[in-house]
Symmetry: C2
Subunit: 214 residues, 2 copies
DNA sequence: CCTTGTGAAAACTTTCACAGCT
DNA sequence: AGCTGTGAAAGTTTTCACAAGG
């Protein structure tokens, strides 16, 4: 599906996922086509950026017209691998983990939460939104019997290391880590570290910076 | 506190928040000093990157020795503006919003959640972790009477626009948006868009890419 | 005429190589 | 000797300028 690019540039990849959100919304409204300029405006970027992002793909647009939304969506979905199911486990069934288990947009995008894991006795063997929560002690065994693609970490920082020892021995392909601290992506594992508090801190800096400018 | 830099480079800023997480953890363990090499290893980056990031500040390190952790922490905290309180409201008291209201690391970093807002009658006028939940209809009035720095959006996409109309008229300085879709940061507002599903999709692409490589 | 597509330039970020303290 | 600090080089991303198609 690609032309020149061996693999998508990092920032293009990120934006493609954001284009999708906007395109879904437009499709919902019955709109069938959009120009790079309009899309750029909604994304708060330039129109050239949109077109450059698409230059990795065989021509999607029509000159003088714009992009067909259905076609645009299916090409991105295809390329991101979103037309297959990926199985997910949530490690740490606290409030954030539980929110993710309930998150409808995840299941719409075909990410299937298969199980949760926790250390708290009052959570173990219960279900959250039909997803069973197991003791963390069962994780090793569970991973031997079930093929899981992505493990999500929503546990306190000090539990991460022990869990990683188990994950490394499994066939899990990727980790999405919400705990503070960085999980290294050696060991052939794909890792994304996503600390929400970090984003608050960045806002703090920008607020401060702006105050100084006044 | 800065030397040459007018303002911190975007990626340096992001990493500074991540250094903090690691430094807190080290301080907890009673460690008082660290070299750029050790810190880099924990961050999964190069030692030069660490030192370059710090080149915006007046010399923090000691050659031949490393960085004093207490000093390092206080310089970053000072520069990010983390030694003051920022007031926060959570718009959308669903599972994610509720998780944020309970999130201890936020309060530790001095982000104070002052109120929540929702449209659901069963949530309005209740409290979550001592934070009162108001009707979204009270938002306008609330913002006139209370100085709030950051608004967090944890509402469905279609509610964003109406809420933005109210926010724009207020003195809110920054938005952290968990809804899909991009909020434009014109109107003198600082915005960070943070779609969690987007990170899952990026993992999807990388898993697919890796499979192809085998 | 409108909008896509794209080499080339500009801007930004990371890495290299090495000078400089302690 | 060991680690910090930094100008210069390399690599990546964005923007510019304009060619080309409907």
């Amino acid at each position: 599906m690609k032309k020149n690019c061996k693999s998508l540039p990092q920032y293009t990849l990120k934006r493609l996922t954001e284009y999708l959100n906007i395109l879904y919304q437009l499709r919902e409204k019955g709109i069938s086509s959009i120009s790079s300029g309009e899309l750029a405006q909604r994304m708060n970027i330039t129109d050239v950026q949109v077109r450059k992002d698409l230059s990795c793909f065989d021509s999607i647009g029509k000159r003088g017209v714009g992009y067909d939304i259905d076609k645009f969506i299916s090409i991105i979905e295809e390329d991101l691998g979103l037309n297959r199911e990926l199985s997910v486990i949530i490690i740490g069934a606290g409030r954030l983990g539980s929110a993710l288990i309930h998150y409808k947009r995840l299941s719409k995008a075909r990410f299937r939460v298969k199980a949760g894991f926790d250390i708290a006795k009052d959570k173990i063997n219960k279900t959250i939104n039909k997803v069973k929560i197991f003791s963390i002690e069962k994780l090793d065994e569970y991973l031997k019997e079930n093929k899981i693609d992505i493990a999500v970490f929503t546990v306190p920082e000090d539990e991460v290391e022990g869990i990683m020892d188990i994950i490394k021995k499994s066939d899990i392909k990727a980790i999405l880590n919400f705990s503070p601290g960085i999980i290294n992506s050696r060991e052939n594992l794909i890792v994304r570290n996503l600390d929400i508090v970090s984003d608050f801190k960045i806002l703090s800096y920008k607020i401060k910076e702006k105050n100084n400018a006044d």
